[in-house]
Symmetry: C2
Subunit: 116 residues, 2 copies
């Protein structure tokens, strides 16, 4: 890993963005809400993300106490991720962001924000 060199902002929004801002994190949280729990399942449900990347993001979400991991002593190894109460409490925020973003996309269709 690396170490942050620049000071951070103790800012509610900044904190939320750090928690949610990873490329695949919102997708992962969506999947967890749908009951998809195992890394390999997540990988199949999120086209474009490799297992490696999802593992990294899950690890970060876990470090943030947004998800937690259950490991079963089976073979092949079986792991499940669940939302913590912090993860659950994040849901309304995700919904609000999703609504705004979708409304935005409908009005600025075929472009992402930075490019339009």
């Amino acid at each position: 890993m690396y170490v942050k060199k620049l000071p951070e902002l103790d800012y509610g929004v900044a904190t939320t963005i750090k928690a949610l801002g990873g490329k695949w994190k919102a997708c992962i949280l969506d999947c967890l809400h749908l009951g998809i729990r195992r890394p390999s399942e997540l990988c199949r449900n999120i086209p474009g993300a490799s297992l490696r990347v999802l593992s990294q993001q899950l690890k970060e979400l876990e470090a943030c106490h947004i998800v937690y991991k259950k490991v079963y002593a089976e073979v092949p190894l079986r792991v499940e991720y669940y939302l913590t109460s912090w993860g659950e409490s994040l849901w309304p925020v995700i919904v609000a962001m999703n609504e705004w973003g979708n409304a935005y996309l409908h009005h600025h269709c075929n472009n992402t924000p930075q490019e339009s």
Copy 2:
């Protein structure tokens, strides 16, 4: 600038994060809500951010139609940024993110998400 090489996710949350996710964007939007409009004023109100970086972020926000720019033909040059209706409609989302993030910070005090 650079050109994106990898495909983007057409995801409401991803869109919102792209719009809000810049390091200083939430600060800028806060300032605009407070009536701070000129780049040099923003710079003085956001310790740590250089004028150059704020200009970049303002430019991105402008490209997203979240803020717009008014230029006055004065000397020295005078510029003001305002929230568009999209920018205004983003406010509830920012508030929700801010509340969650602040609650989070209070319970995991002295740590940012990724480090805790």
